[in-house]
């Protein structure tokens, strides 16, 4: 009986939430990597050519560096990131009990700075935050995404899905119009992908730098001439969470490279 229940519970976990019409079934999910040309793929695949790896190396230094009035480094509490941070990014955004809501990996890093290092928060998109976040997420490279499985997150995943389906901006387009209904097509000649968030923070050739998932989402919103949500806003976190749950099972690629 107990064994049977465990199997039933496991089955529930792997099937995940029911799909709405138009949503991409698990076996059809493809990372942005699958849409890229051979040169960009080669750049991502070769750590010596991947510009994102410079940020990962910076992050490794910051991991060890003592900072804040607590004069502690991340390593003083978390020790070797290769074991302590393995798989962590694959389940972020994660529910924070104290706050009662999901937090992104970047927010978690800044919470550790505030609560455990007594240091000031690192600004959004700052080099140090991207470097730390790239270093932590790199420890999950190859690990399948499971974010959103925690049942406490359900209302937030649902909120993110609603935002994904909502038409907005002067062009009146929803994320789903491009990333569910029209991937594999071309927008002004550029391939549209499924918008899977597998590689963040990632190096975009167009940006000439590493950028967060929130930066990407804000530029899609600006593209449809909508007022982009602020960094760290509940809406962006919910969208990020929905995107991660929508990518369930795809392996993490951080630091990915995209055109």
């Amino acid at each position: 009986m107990i064994a049977w229940r465990a199997i039933a519970a496991a089955t529930l976990l792997v099937t995940g939430p029911a799909l709405l019409a138009g949503e991409i079934p698990p076996d059809a999910r493809r990372s942005g990597y699958a849409f890229m040309g051979p040169d960009t793929r080669a750049m991502q695949d070769d750590d010596t050519a991947n510009p994102g790896m410079l940020f990962v190396l910076d992050g490794e230094q910051l991991w060890k560096k003592k900072t804040g009035s607590a004069d502690r480094g991340c390593a003083d509490c978390h020790d070797d990131a290769r074991t302590s941070m393995k798989g962590v990014a694959a389940r972020y955004p994660a529910f924070d009990k104290a706050l009662g809501r999901p937090v992104t990996l970047d927010q978690r890093i800044n919470l550790c700075r505030a609560n455990h290092q007594q240091a000031t928060p690192l600004p959004d998109e700052s080099r140090d935050l991207l470097a730390l976040s790239a270093f932590v997420a790199h420890q999950s490279r190859g690990i399948p995404i499971t974010a959103g499985d925690d049942p406490q997150l359900k209302p937030f995943v649902d909120q993110g899905r609603d935002l994904f389906m909502q038409r907005e901006g002067q062009l009146n387009l929803a994320c789903t119009n491009c990333h569910d209904d029209n991937f594999d097509k071309r927008l002004a000649g550029a391939p549209i992908t499924q918008g899977q968030p597998t590689g963040y923070p990632l190096y975009r050739l167009e940006w000439q730098t590493l950028g967060s998932l929130e930066r990407r989402l804000r530029s899609c919103m600006t593209g449809v001439r909508a007022q982009a949500y602020d960094y760290g806003s509940p809406e962006l976190v919910a969208l990020e969470l929905y995107l991660m749950s929508r990518a369930r099972g795809l392996p993490m690629e951080t630091p990915a490279v995209r055109p």
């Binding site: 038409r167 907005e168 002067q170 062009l171 097509k185 002004a188 549209i192 600006t222 909508a226 007022q227």
Partner: protein
């Protein structure tokens, strides 16, 4: 005067079109072609057409070649003003509309995507697309 810049000129839908020009003044197909190709007008994000000079064309929507055979000027005008009249689920934006939209960016709020004169120039150009 600037206060009325965002106000839409009234138009009358007859059948599946808007037979009367939005401006009442002559339109310019050459300017219309340039507008269709301009990135900010957004048409070729989705459409392709007989535009050999650019490879930045989309394929989310039908090729515009021959649009002037398939549609009258009246139909083209309504299509641009409000494509959702033809297909309520269309992804093609309504180019002459300034309300009922969600979270429009600060710089665009209250304004239609195109002006009445721009719509007329584009209609004039599309009407010339005959194969």
């Amino acid at each position: 005067c600037s206060a009325s810049a965002n106000e839409l000129v009234p138009y009358t839908i007859v059948g599946d079109g808007i037979p009367a020009s939005l401006t009442g003044s002559p339109s310019d197909a050459t300017r219309g072609r340039a507008l269709v190709l301009a990135r900010t007008t957004t048409c070729i994000l989705c459409h392709s057409g007989p535009f050999p000079e650019t490879r930045f064309q989309g394929d989310l929507a039908p090729d515009l070649a021959g649009a002037g055979n398939r549609w009258s000027a009246s139909q083209l005008r309504l299509r641009l003003v409000d494509a959702s009249r033809f297909n309520p689920d269309t992804i093609m934006p309504s180019y002459y509309r300034n309300d009922g939209l969600v979270r429009v960016g600060r710089n665009f709020a209250g304004k239609p995507i195109l002006s009445a004169a721009e719509i007329e120039d584009i209609v004039a150009f599309l009407a010339t697309l005959r194969d």
